[in-house]
Symmetry: C2
Subunit: 477 residues, 2 copies
């Protein structure tokens, strides 16, 4: 058990040092967000050039604040950070989050030395440092946040990200699809607190059921491996390793001054530790949606309904290529289909092509319900947002009705079910808005949505791999 870092997420008071009067500056945003976003503790502004910012007194120095300060957000230039650490130490501050950048990542020796000096002073005074060069903490439950528009509700997914930009993009992409977060930490150059510290904490965090991490490098691979292994025994961990190529590793150096390390070593470590390794933000979002919404399965036998003929073929190919099994319809299920429609009974297959069902009493929803009940299917995929269906006369209404029937099946089955919504990038505004509405209904029903079947298939495959690895690991215990 290592919940000792829990105090990071429960400051009683926050001081924004380098609070700004300019709304475009992050030193303004940090102050505004903590004043107005549900943080219950006290929030102080420090800026010697201002008397008041956003209605609160602006102090000349951290030391001028009359009450205690637990947590400092630093938006001042790097050169004065060592002095800030000293003042924080005298003030009894527990945590300093350095939004301040331009330390080792500039590649200049004096900046790297400055970073080490900051670390030395923090260590000497027992202050923990998040960063430098990062966005810090988003913890909705306590009102800690680093960007406007993040969900106010909490959820089961924790995230670590060296990059603040990636954290923002992933929060946006995943929350749009209904994922909610327990704790997010953007931790930049990781001069003090690093990925292993946070993973170790999150392994035991009762608010966290799924962990994802965007990591550019580590200073202690052995410890990371041990912590990672402990984590994956408790909950799934999805890792995007950045800096996989030569050019990527160079970009990592000028971003967070991390040593990217060998991609083969990272792959081996994740495989042995049972972590899911992804290579893009899209894959990471897909993995989170899957782990957030779907009931665990170790199976790979998939039943697919709802596309036209062309999409049925593509779905079969893409699922098989991702390692799922698109099994033929079982004979007893086919018998039921024959009873329903003698003409279609031998023609309908898996995937079920919607367009051949016209004029019969057989619908894709009936086929999906049969697949949901049948023990041979482990996973269900249903298509709902094809341009073909949406664009036909009365199409929007029909597509929404079909979706509602899918969702009723999704609510009652114990099998994981993915809905393919199609791309919300379409020119036609009505279609675009329909897809947004469909997504809203899916999230409300607690169902996972994907823009394409190939992305769903890859995510579902990784999901099964994790649970199989977990089951094998458990069987050795």
């Amino acid at each position: 058990m290592s919940l000792e870092l829990d105090y990071l997420f429960h400051p009683r008071s926050i001081a924004v040092v380098g609070a700004s009067t300019d709304p475009q500056q992050q030193g303004h945003s940090f102050l505004k967000l903590h004043l107005n976003n549900g943080f219950k503790g006290k929030v102080y502004a420090v800026n010697p050039k201002a008397k008041e910012i956003l209605g609160v007194t602006s102090y000349s120095s951290l030391l001028d604040i009359p009450e205690e300060v637990d947590y400092v957000i630093s938006c001042i230039p790097s050169g004065v950070v060592p002095q800030l650490i000293d003042e924080a130490s005298r003030k009894g501050v527990k945590v300093v989050h350095l939004y301040t950048a331009r330390f080792s990542e500039t590649g200049r020796q004096e900046d790297a030395q400055l970073e080490q000096e900051v670390l030395r002073r923090a260590r000497a005074s027992g202050i923990r440092v998040i960063g430098p060069n990062c966005m810090g903490i988003y913890y909705a439950r306590e009102g800690l946040v680093f960007m406007d528009g993040f969900p106010k509700e909490s959820g089961p997914v924790a995230m670590l990200s060296q990059s603040g930009g990636n954290a923002v993009e992933l929060i946006s992409a995943a929350s749009t699809r209904g994922v909610r977060f327990s704790k997010v930490i953007s931790y930049g150059n990781a001069v003090d607190l690093n990925e292993a510290d946070f993973l170790d904490y999150l392994a035991d965090d009762p608010e966290t059921r799924v962990i994802c991490a965007s990591i550019e490098g580590t200073k202690d691979g052995r410890r990371l491996f041990q912590v990672l292994k402990r984590c994956t025994g408790q909950k799934p961990v999805v890792i995007m390793k950045a800096g996989r190529t030569g050019a990527g590793a160079k970009a990592v150096a000028s971003h967070t001054a991390s040593l990217a390390g060998s991609q083969q070593v990272w792959e081996a470590m994740c495989r042995q530790a049972g972590a899911v390794l992804v290579s893009s933000l899209e894959e990471q979002a897909d993995a989170l949606v899957t782990l957030h919404f779907l009931k665990p399965t170790v199976g790979v036998r998939v039943g697919i309904v709802g596309g036209s003929g062309g999409r049925s073929v593509a779905s079969a190919d893409q699922c098989e290529e991702a390692g799922l099994k698109v099994i033929p319809l079982p004979e007893d299920l086919r018998k039921k289909l024959r009873d329903e429609s003698p003409l279609l009974g031998d023609w309908v297959s898996n995937p079920t092509d919607t367009s051949i069902l016209g004029g019969s009493s057989l619908t894709v929803c009936k086929v999906l319900a049969m697949m949901a009940e049948h023990p041979d299917f482990d996973i269900l995929i249903a298509h709902a947002g094809e341009s073909f269906g949406l664009g036909r006369p009365g199409g929007v209404q029909r597509v929404l009705q079909t979706l509602d029937s899918y969702l009723a099946i999704g609510r009652s089955t114990a099998k994981p079910m993915a809905i393919i919504l199609g791309d919300s990038l379409v020119e036609n505004e009505r279609q675009r808005e329909t897809i947004v509405e469909m997504r809203r209904r899916c999230i409300e029903a607690g169902v996972a949505t994907f823009p394409t079947v190939s992305r769903a298939a890859r995510a579902l495959r990784m999901f099964g791999d994790y649970f199989r690895h977990r089951a094998e690991a458990d069987s050795f215990k």
Copy 2:
């Protein structure tokens, strides 16, 4: 030269046989679309049960139409199609498009025999058949169309697709990003006219500069290879082969009764013929956007600007993994950067991380302009739609200004440039609509847009491969 099929696209009159009074039926849509969508010739309805549909006389039979009919669209049940072919023959019809389905694809012997009987009668009378089991022709210039909402303007891209659904989805996905079409043919079971016939025609079609095809199978691989080779010598050909896996091949059989064939054979054929092979509709759309908008290049050295640090790293990795080269900044370019900003000159790299430029006179647009001018870069990629940038105070305005500067550079450079717009799959409506507006500006400027850098990188790599193959092939002539 084989433009003999040109008459398919220039009928003087069309009869919709099986025209329907029910707006939900395709037999109604075909009539409505050709009456109201700019088709200049005469349009006739045939349905013995109606007197008038959509304001035009409904004839009891094709033979009752008092004038000549060039082109018949059949929406009647399969069993009466042989009789329709006989009547079409007596009427002097040149082309029958069989929207009618339930022929060989049902898997029943009598339906396959019926299909052969239709072919026999058509051959005997010199009628050419498109289909059966397909959507037919979309040719905006003549007002031929099979779905509401397709662009009314023409463009340089021709498409073949056995699946009507895939054709609709690809038209929607690609036209949303500015692609316009010369001729689209959905050709279903291909009982008479097949992929080789259409490719042979499109190779010489002066309205077509790019060809894409979604193919499920062929009956004559040798001829297809010869035709394909001839095509790729004239213009790029992008092929999505469906039915690549066992389950996919099964789905192909029940969709268009095609024999999917061996994927290895298809891969070898496309490689030898110099066609670009893709495996999803998304990849196909990306390839079309690339070929539609970008200036040809055989180079792979890419310059990237505009992401935050995390996205810069991801861009470097994903471009390198796709086979592009993310080269270091050349020394003479770096000297210019040092002149502009001594502090940043040695820190800025390729990809250029936007977030480190704050407070200096250096902007990503200046770096992009330098890359555009510098001979070491073959391809440019610029990020424009990150949630991070859009969500900050004043962000939308700033992002749009940056985009306009990118587009000015894109207009003046001879190098291919791709704009990464980010996913419009965002919850925030203002951000979503901003991305739609950004896309509009890009299309107007004739610039290619992609939702993610990994999709752009793969498309740009295939694009270079095609032009390199073409240059090599030409050097042997």
